[in-house]
Amino acid sequence: MNYYDILFYLFAIITLVSAGFVVTTRNVIYSAFFLLFTFFGVAGIYVLLAADFLAVVQIMVYVGGILILLLFGVMLTNKITNVDIRTGTSNLLPASIAIGLLMGALVSAMIYTGWKVQPASEIPDTSIKNLGALLITDYLLIFELLGILLLIALIGAASIARRDKE
């Protein structure tokens, strides 16, 4: 095992163990807290794969944005209404069937995808340049459409938030 292997297993263990806690812990706040480590572990694996930009974006978007929103939702509702929100399990059978199917789909996708394998020496220093070029050439349409989608979501959120005032 070389250093990269050790680091990879370290991040993989962090990701898996914390993800396990996210689903098994009874307190929603703790779930959100362990999700933090899951995101970090994934970011670490991105770094090992030389996807530096993706790693930082993973932290900025998921940890710095989405998880904060999640926490806010949980913390504020939890405290203000004085109701302890706790998670329980229900509908075990349909849930496990659905998850099993999803898992199968993901694993088969993982097996049958022709992954691009590249020796470490050929990987460029930074992936930003290539990513940027691809985003405004090959994937321009999708990029712009996503921008419009986000704008619509933003306007929608604002209009929903404003409705109460009238």
């Binding site: 250093y3 706040i29 807290f33 933090l36 530096d52 930009f53 930082v56 974006v57 932290i59 900025m60 940890v63 710095g64 944005g65 904060i68 926490l71 806010f72 913390m75 504020l76 405290k79 220093d125 930074t126 930003i128």
Partner: protein
């Protein structure tokens, strides 16, 4: 260099930075009190040591010897963890800030930065966005409404100002064509400082930095008349010291970032034309970086003791309706610089 040499050299750098930071923070508090005294025509701390120079150590001992109180309604685990998150974020950010050019020491080429990563600027942004966690957890876990309100205010403020901060940085990135702090500094050769080329972006970045560090005039998270102490109301002893330390460490980061991105980092205009020998040049450059940072720190304190606090709606209006459009305008200006003046 073998991997062990890299690890050892990095560890030495990290140790140096941590020790320096702790000392700097201790004395920043001293200078804050001296400068506030000077501005308000008082004397300030002058009892412990010569002109009160040992005051920071007295403060530290006082904080450490205090009783550590955890409120009954608090969530113990998160209450303890919160100050450490704040500290971790504050210290981890220093890794990517270059304080000088590459030097040769004992046969090794050493960058005067812990980690010269390609995406350093994004790394800083990502870590500062983590800073919200320390404050949110502190506010929530204390089990007190003042703490919770302080925490919520702080998070909302940081998230809002991150937007204009990000857009101001975009202008810098466009000009230097790199996300690496070292390259950004090198791109500001001579008088091509970003503060001069894009003054609007400079202003929006500085204002956002004030808001991000929760300093006056944006210190609403801990507005004493309304919120007792804000998110750290329920903290005492060492944990309180942790937040205190993190706040000042964040101020130093903000100053260093302003220096790196807008004030030319360690560059002294045209020093290489003077024909000084290499060691002297490097020393002068490190000195220049520290001087610029120190000036920004002084500026932070100067503003704190001169300007009253904003009201919360004013703060949000300023962030979204003034700073955000201004930072967009700055990007247009940078585009003009690039397309018309071919910079």
């Amino acid at each position: 260099m073998s991997i062990w040499e890299v690890i050892i050299i990095s560890l030495i750098k990290i140790l140096l930075i941590v020790v320096l930071m702790l000392l700097t923070v201790a004395y920043l508090v001293y200078f804050e009190r001296k400068i506030s005294a000077w501005i308000q025509n008082r004397k300030g701390p002058n009892r412990v040591g010569w002109h009160g120079l040992l005051q920071p150590f007295a403060d530290v001992f006082k904080l450490l010897l205090k009783e550590d109180i955890v409120p009954e309604k608090a969530n113990k685990a998160l209450h303890t963890l919160a100050p450490f998150i704040a500290l971790f974020v504050a210290f981890a950010t220093y890794a990517v800030i270059p304080i000088g050019p590459t030097i040769e020491l004992f046969g090794y080429k050493i960058n005067l930065v812990v980690a010269d990563v390609n995406i350093g600027v994004l790394y800083v942004l990502a870590l500062t966005s983590l800073g919200v966690y320390g404050i949110t957890f502190a506010g929530w876990s204390s089990g007190s409404k003042y703490s919770l309100l302080g925490g919520v205010r702080s998070s909302a403020q940081m998230i809002s100002y991150e937007v204009s901060m990000g857009f101001s940085i975009a202008g810098v990135l466009l000009l230097s064509q790199s996300l690496s702090p070292t390259k950004i500094v090198e791109a500001q050769y001579g008088w091509m400082w970003n503060a001069i080329l894009q003054p609007i972006g400079f202003i929006t970045f500085v204002v956002s930095a004030f808001a991000e560090t929760n300093r006056l005039p944006f210190d609403l998270p801990e507005a004493e008349p309304e919120l007792v102490g804000g998110y750290h109301t329920e903290y005492s002893s060492f944990k309180f010291a942790g937040f205190f330390l993190a706040e000042y460490a964040n101020m130093i980061i903000a100053s260093m970032m302003i220096t790196t991105l807008y004030l030319g980092g360690y560059q002294i205009p045209y020093i290489d034309k003077l024909g000084l020998n290499q060691t002297l040049t490097v020393l002068l450059q490190v000195g220049a970086f520290l001087f610029k940072t120190a000036f920004m720190l002084f500026f932070f304190m100067w503003v704190r003791w001169s300007i009253p606090r904003f009201r919360y709606d004013q703060l949000m209006n300023l962030g979204w309706k003034v700073m955000f459009p201004l930072s967009l305008l700055n990007i247009v200006w940078v585009a003009v610089l690039i397309m018309v003046f071919r910079l």
